[in-house]
Amino acid sequence: MLQKLEFVIRRLFTSVFVLIGVSLITFFLARVVPSNAAALYIGPKARPEDIERVRKQLGLDRPLPVQYAIYMADLLHGDLGASIGTKRPVLAEIIDRAPASLELLFIGMLFAILFGIPLGVLSARWQGKPPDVAVRSLSIVGVSMPAFYLGLLLQILFFRNLDWLPLAGRVSNDLRFTNPILPLTNFLLFDSFITQNWLAFKDVTYHLVLPALTLAAFPIGLIARMTRAAMLEVLEQDYIRTARAYGIKDVVITYLYALKNAFSPTLTVIGLTFAYALTGTFFVEIIFNWPGLGLFTVRSLLNLDYPAIMGMTLFGATAYVIINLIVDVLQAWIDPRISLK
């Protein structure tokens, strides 16, 4: 127990150092790499005196360590600057749009785990047989397909050809008037569920299927492959053979005894796929016109909204560091050997 606690504390410390390093890199990109950072910060229509004012404000005329100190002080106050496009603080924009992206990310990762792990187990269980071949083909297609292309193909198939699912957006337009969702948290699934707005709940669910599936394709492939590899390794071990010799049911052995020990490497991959999914939402949100952080970032990229781009970079990296921390701690909890390393 003490060892685990020590591991968690040590891991927290490294995360803090990594975050400081991350801030150094974003500082470099935000203030040092561009030849005229002040002009970028205020946008293309700036007057020279405005640029001069911003230069003073950001401390761009002062030595680099002082500039970094100013940058860090702003960050710690939650000040990421103001978006050029919307004139609002970048942090407010991020907070407003986060629920839409997080809802997509959660459902996407849920799909990835719910499909990926059983598929991987199935594949390992039937190694070399048709189910294995099918799963392996599916996973290699999943990791080879660009998200921005898969999304379009799914739209063609499920909207244009079959007309089963909506084309884009989070909720149908007419529903906004007939059954508006009370914006409690802006997690629409949750909001419509809690207010028992079933019509809206169904509509929101339908809208989520294609984006979440597009986002999940790559993680499903990766998770299925890793689960398969880990399962194959575990299934060869003596204790599994012993369990078989005792006549314990195959289903119990596969899903209870083997999967439990194969789960640790799978968890690592789940953590890794979050990194993919974070940037994956950018493409999915453009394709499905999803009003989240990705759409905001991509618009900022196109409009050269520099404060917004740098704010999102820092936000994304921070989220990733925290996810990695959580995965490591979870792993130490599942597999006690890790905290001993």
């Binding site: 990594v18 975050l19 390093g21 991350v22 150094l24 890199i25 974003t26 990109l29 935000a30 790499v33 561009p34 290699i140 297609v141 990791v143 080879s144 397909m145 660009p146 998200a147 921005f148 292309y149 379009l152 193909l153 739209q155 063609i156 909207f159 244009r160 084309l167 990194a275 993919y276 974070l278 940037t279 950018f282 493409f283 453009i286 394709i287 970032t297 991509v298 990229l301 196109l302 050269l304 520099y306 781009i309 740098m310 970079t313 994304g316 990296a317 990733y320 560091v321 990695n324």
Partner: protein, 297 residues
Amino acid sequence: MTAIPVLPTEPEIQSARTFRHVLSVIVRDPLSLISTIVIILFILIAIFAWQVAPYPLEGAGKTNVSHSMLPPSPGHPFGADRLGRDMLSRVIMGARPALIVPIGVVLFAVLIGAPLGAIAGYKGGWVDETIMRITDLFLAFPSLLLAMAIASALGRGLQNAAIALVVSWWPWYTRLVRGVTISLRERYFIEAAQATGVRDSVIILRHILPNTISPILVQATVDLGLVILAMGGLAFLGLGTQPPSPDWGLMVSEGRDFILKQWWISTFPGLAIFIVVLAFNLLGDTLRDIFDPRQYR
């Protein structure tokens, strides 16, 4: 110091044997063989794009408004886009930024990452600490997010997108090569070289780096798929190749508004990305089975 003749050492002979072994496995496995052929074919098409494309000028960006939105036909098997450009020619010409540039990106990432990894692994101590902590910082970002930030800091364009990807990919090779180097450092031929007074720089260049080539090749094959996807992604977002130049990712983006009626504009460039990435992934899987670079991590 007098030069000491360097005899071919045991692992160097072994690596030559591994290479022949790899070739024989690829030739015997139908999927890997097809993948290799597909990759070589696409690279040849990219190199000879001007000769292969039926309408090279349209492929490069010249508009032909009378052919606007022409559906696929024998004369234009992939149809034509909004500005009437032959899509087959566009896809062929787009192979350069979409395929050749990622190969260059991986090459540069190896050239930066591998020597740093060898130095870190060989020297150990504070040199190792410093180099590895720096790579940790870069790896703390999701690669594509870092590449997006760098590409927008440098300004849009194919060259800057490529630089951005190199900057976010080199640390993986530093990690890999460091691991291989640490396992090599204990071997007799390195100890023998050290004992006879061969300079560190010579040991790293002549004895360590050549022995890291096979794991690097495996890793690079797998990475190429990822870098092609990332490059396509940056182009799709408008951070890579700028119009009217052709690029697969950019073309998928250009056809997005017409996807429900003129499906061919996005479909064929996207298919090209998918096929190439699939080929690299299939080949990478085979190579990884023969020679797992992860065993050094």
